[in-house]
């Protein structure tokens, strides 16, 4: 009978882990992949110094090394699942050591792994935190082999601060597990372990960590994890499941296992499926752009037009195709011109800064792209982002600052995933054979120097448009932002300054610009002048006249013709056209 229970338990535990794997692959592949983008694994002098200057030395090194392999959702999920398996196996082993002869209910011991699987998708929950938990659990196993002697409690106490240096805040998990191990003659052990925890807190101070940060290290607060107390739940849960396991092993015969299994599975599914799906999309679209898979970016953006990042990328995709004005109104425009840009203030997430560089490079605003990339580098948890290092290297190549580019490329050349890319670009710099994309971006940069406030994208676009009169992407961004904000006056001024007689000589004027220009008409005479001055096409003019005719006849001043659907006139309905004195 016991063998059958054991077999069933193992099956249940494996099923739980496989479910976690499946859910991670399905629900959080890009969040896992993103971990690689916002970290780096280097063993250079400075990085070793950094590792040694912080606690969790071993788990940080191992975690960062493993993060290199999170280059896809599958890889990330598989590695995460293996770490969770390691944790569960460690807990099982420890339970057997702590309760010789007792039956271990595996399906209970897998619960800490379930909780960990809730944390794992958070982009700023480092792999090193999970590694730290695994190290702590197995260290507890190793210490459980220690023979009872008068020194044993002291060794337990000493091991806590040592473990803190090795694996970080999860030393607390180990301490609680050791308390559980010695629960029957706990007094001396507890005293020693409490002393160990106090020593750990004091060592945390030596590392310039606050009390809370000591116990959650290497997780960075103030980022994405919603509540810090959740992180402290893990050590408590680890011990609680053992106590429950002891209890439930007595209840085996009443098949409590099935109930537990169902509960665990439901919790598991609930944890991950209720996780932030919007965040997954936000990271997915940015990752697709990072991979230069612009077709997929556009597809995804078109399916999620309520999300600011998707709208941002929708416009960017169109701008890259030279169709920003043509497609401007096809998405939802509720965010007005804010959908065209991202904000990069102090409280904004790192995505804003990372993603905005994509648009800024296309526009030719390399100065702000540099600003954003450096800011993103600053706000990611470990201060190193391979993605932003690549961007900074690209910026150096675009601006011709090859010394700067080489600095970043030489760092990337020491990484596993970016070595080839960096070496290729270094060769390009050496041979002065710069890839076309960078030359295009370079051609859009501003030759003359002007100033503008950080984040003042309008002033920046004005400067770019003045200095690079054929930078259609920048000019379209400027004009479209006025259109979305219904600022016709500024639109007309900018159109006359940057488009009329310049760009309109080499490209067809988009219908939306013509439609916007016609909204300034308030008499027959001005209509004639407008049509002549701006070369309004017959098609747009016919539509406009028809609309005006219908509106003149209608009792409803806001009536729109069928042809007007999807036009700028439709969009601008809030600014009424009713006062136009047109026949």
């Amino acid at each position: 009978m016991m063998r059958r229970y054991r077999f069933l338990d193992a099956v249940y535990a494996v099923l739980v882990l496989l479910t976690i794997f499946g859910i991670l692959v399905h629900q959080a592949p890009y969040r896992l992949e993103f971990k690689e983008q916002i970290s780096i694994f280097l063993l250079g002098a400075d990085r070793i110094g950094w590792y040694l200057s912080n606690p969790a030395v071993i788990s940080s090194v191992l975690g960062d090394w493993l993060t290199q392999f999170y280059i896809s959702g599958w890889n990330g999920a598989l590695l995460s699942m293996l770490l969770l398996l390691l944790i569960t196996a460690g807990l099982y082993r420890f339970y057997r050591l702590a309760n010789p002869g007792h039956y271990a209910v595996l399906v209970l011991l897998v619960i800490p792994a379930v909780l960990e699987s809730y944390f794992i998708p958070f982009p700023n929950y480092p792999v090193s935190a999970t590694v730290g938990l695994a190290l702590s659990v197995w260290s507890a196993c190793a210490l459980a082999h220690l023979k009872d002697s008068r020194f044993a409690p002291w060794i337990y106490g000493l091991s806590v601060p040592v473990m803190f240096v090795i694996a970080g805040g999860h030393a607390l998990t180990m301490a609680l597990m050791l308390c559980y191990l010695k629960r029957k003659d706990a007094a001396q052990t507890v005293v020693c372990l409490v002393a160990g925890l106090i020593a750990m807190a004091l060592i945390g101070r030596l590392y310039n960590l606050t009390f809370i940060r000591t116990f959650i290290w290497p997780v960075y607060p103030k980022h994405i994890i919603p509540a810090l107390w959740l992180l402290l739940l893990q050590p408590l849960l680890t011990v609680a499941v053992m106590a429950l396991s002891t209890l439930s092993s007595r209840l085996i015969r009443i098949h409590v296992r099935e109930f537990i299994f169902t509960f665990v599975m439901l919790t598991d599914v609930m944890f991950i499926t209720t996780a932030d799906k919007e965040l997954e999309n936000v990271i997915k679209i940015g990752t697709l752009a990072y991979r230069n898979d612009w077709k997929e970016v556009k597809n995804l953006a078109s399916r999620h037009m309520t999300d600011r990042y998707c709208i941002f990328y929708w416009h960017l995709c169109n701008a890259r195709e030279g169709r920003l004005p043509d497609e401007l109104l096809k998405g939802r425009w509720g965010l007005s011109s804010r959908g065209l840009y991202l904000t990069t203030g102090k409280g904004d997430p790192c995505f804003s800064m990372m993603y905005f560089t994509d648009a800024l490079m296309e526009i030719g605003d390399v100065s702000q792209a540099t600003d954003c990339a450096l800011l993103a580098q600053t706000v990611v948890p470990g201060h190193y982002s391979t993605r932003m290092l690549r961007r900074l290297a690209e910026i150096g190549v675009v601006t011709g600052d090859y010394a700067v580019a080489s600095k970043y490329l030489n760092i990337l050349a020491r990484t596993r995933n970016h070595r080839e890319w960096a070496d290729n670009l270094l060769k390009c710099i050496e041979t002065d054979s710069i890839p076309d994309q960078y030359l295009i971006w370079r051609s859009r940069t501003v030759p003359q120097d002007h100033f503008f406030a950080q984040g003042d994208i309008r002033s920046s676009l004005d400067i770019i448009a003045q200095e690079s009169p054929y930078n259609k992407v920048a000019i379209d961004y400027q004009l479209c932002s006025y259109l979305l904000d219904k600022d016709i006056k500024s639109f007309v001024e900018s159109y006359e300054r940057y488009y009329l007689g310049k760009l309109d000589q080499i490209v067809n004027v988009p219908d939306i610009y013509q439609e916007a220009l016609l909204t300034t008409v308030n008499s027959d005479e001005s209509l004639r002048e407008t049509v002549e001055k701006y070369h309004i096409s017959q098609e747009v003019l016919t539509k406009f006249l028809h609309l005006m005719e219908v509106r003149a006849r209608s009792e409803n001043p806001n009536v729109l013709t069928e042809e007007a659907a999807g036009t700028y006139w439709n969009y601008i309905m809030a600014v009424s056209l009713t006062n136009r004195n047109l026949k």
């Binding site: 002098a45 940060r213 700067v404 600095k407 940069t445 770019i464």
Partner: protein, 479 residues
């Protein structure tokens, strides 16, 4: 005298605007470039790397004998004790250094030779600097570190992770046991260390703003500061970065004995902007930068700061009411960051094309003004393309440390240069590290380096405790 200045400045301006890459390339595979440098006898080992090298043999020949050192994988690390023993016995001598190595690509044996001149003047034992990402207005991990110049030991003086991620800046010493460091943020203040006694001051009053850049008198009683409203703008030109500027700026003197702050009618008002004050060695003069105010950032290129002086009475703590311009700025010439040498002989300044924040000006250079003759040396042997800024004198006035972006134009690194009694200079060398590769791998700038001979009495934990728990002492305005 004025004509002489104009001629000098015309020459200097040509040098400044035509500044090209003057970096010597005597031994291209050597990093850092420690060839033919003048070094203090108490400096930490000049560990270096040779590109593409395998095993390395370094032979140093001096008057006291010959020393051999081995390196591997292109890296030479000199044993600390042997290194100091060698320099101690070679004080004042020129060492001949021969580096032999096996090339890892073609397995050929190669060698290069250069020299080290060991100065008899020691450098101050400690150097503090701020480690900060070269981002613009958001900071996350600011640290202020104190480095032992004789070894590779360092200690954190400030770490903003424990102080609400506040900005920390301007750790400044008078080299006689008095230092200050500003902590911004809600619970911030200026940590003042007067011969080991720490206080946290709020130097802002109803009449004067927050203190920023400053200097401490030799006796430690007074601090002279800029009070400025600092902001920044971004350049549109791709290869330029940010432009930090003062919307307004004035000078104040803080009396640390009586906890009072005073200003002078000569440096208040909106017609001129004053900044970067420093005391003369005797404490009776305040040097500072002053420019006629223009609308910024639009006319920022018109902000050219002169070097001016005003008297200071150390008995009463009052600034004079008369300002004299001693070195006028010019078209494409603006001065900043004045630092008088402790021996009273020199005033070292930064010269840039315009503005008050040269750290992002690639043309920024260090200039040396002889305060006796008022001659200006544009220091061709020290400057290089890339911003050379934020210098600091050693207590014996023989060494300066400055932050230079000559290596990659973005990240500042601390360079050390020798200034002889007559103003002769030695080739600057990069602050040695245990593994010099640290400079290539790190993404932080060494900012505001400051030399001093007496170790700071606090560390990052004390600073954090001061930020979080210690009450601020309010400085009172004294009309």
């Amino acid at each position: 005298m004025r004509n002489r200045f104009i001629l000098l400045l015309a020459f200097a301006t040509v040098v400044l605007t035509g500044c090209s890459d003057r970096k010597t390339d005597s031994f291209s595979g050597l990093f850092p470039d420690y060839s033919d440098v003048t070094i203090p006898f108490n400096i930490a080992p000049l560990n270096f790397r040779v590109g593409n090298a395998g095993g390395i043999l370094v032979t140093v020949k001096g008057e006291s004998g010959e020393y051999s050192f081995k390196g591997s994988k292109g890296l030479v690390k000199f044993p600390l004790k042997k290194w100091h023993g060698m320099l101690e016995s070679e004080k004042g001598n020129v060492l001949s250094v021969t580096v032999k190595w096996r090339d890892r690509t073609d397995h050929s044996d190669r060698s290069e030779s250069f020299s080290w001149t060991v100065a008899t003047d020691p450098i101050d034992k400690y150097l503090s600097y701020r480690l900060i990402e070269p981002a613009y207005e958001v900071w996350k991990g600011i640290q202020i570190e104190q480095r032992d110049m004789e070894s590779f030991k360092s200690v954190l003086l400030g770490d903003n992770r424990n102080a609400d991620y506040c900005c920390m800046n301007c750790h400044t010493s008078n080299r006689n046991g008095t230092t200050f460091m500003h902590l911004r943020g809600a619970k911030g203040g200026t940590i003042l260390n007067r011969n080991g006694k720490l206080t946290k001051l709020n130097t802002r009053t109803d009449y004067t703003g927050n203190t920023v850049y400053g200097d401490i008198s030799a006796d430690g009683r007074y601090g002279v500061f800029t009070t400025a409203d600092i902001t920044f703008a971004i350049h549109s030109q791709a290869d330029k970065r940010m432009e930090v500027y003062d919307r307004r700026s004035d000078l104040v003197v803080v009396d640390f004995d009586n906890l009072t702050v005073t200003e002078s009618p000569a440096t208040t008002g909106s017609e001129f902007q004053e900044t970067f004050p420093c005391f003369s060695a005797d404490g009776k003069t305040i040097f500072f930068c002053r420019a006629e105010r223009h609308e910024q950032p639009d006319s920022i290129a018109q902000m050219h700061y002169d070097i001016a002086v005003m008297p200071f009475d150390p008995e009463t703590g009052t600034m004079g009411d008369r300002v004299i311009t001693i070195v006028p700025a010019g078209q494409n010439l603006s001065f900043s960051h004045l630092k008088a040498s402790p021996d009273g002989h020199w005033l070292m300044v930064i010269a840039a094309e315009y503005g008050t924040f040269p750290v992002w000006h690639k043309e920024s250079e260090l200039w040396l003004i002889d305060l006796k003759t008022r001659d200006i040396d544009v220091l061709p042997g020290i400057n290089a393309y890339g911003a050379d800024t934020y210098h600091s004198w050693s207590a014996n006035s023989r060494w300066v440390v400055f932050a230079s972006k000559r290596d990659d134009l973005v990240y500042g690194r601390p360079y050390v240069a020798y200034i002889g009694p007559d103003g002769e200079t030695g080739k600057p060398f990069l602050l040695p590290q245990k593994d010099p590769d640290k400079y290539n791998m790190m993404l932080k700038s060494f900012n505001l380096p400051e030399l001093y001979p007496i170790s700071e009495v606090y560390n990052a934990r004390t600073a954090a405790a001061f930020y979080n728990d210690v009450e601020t002492e309010q400085v009172q305005y004294k009309p």
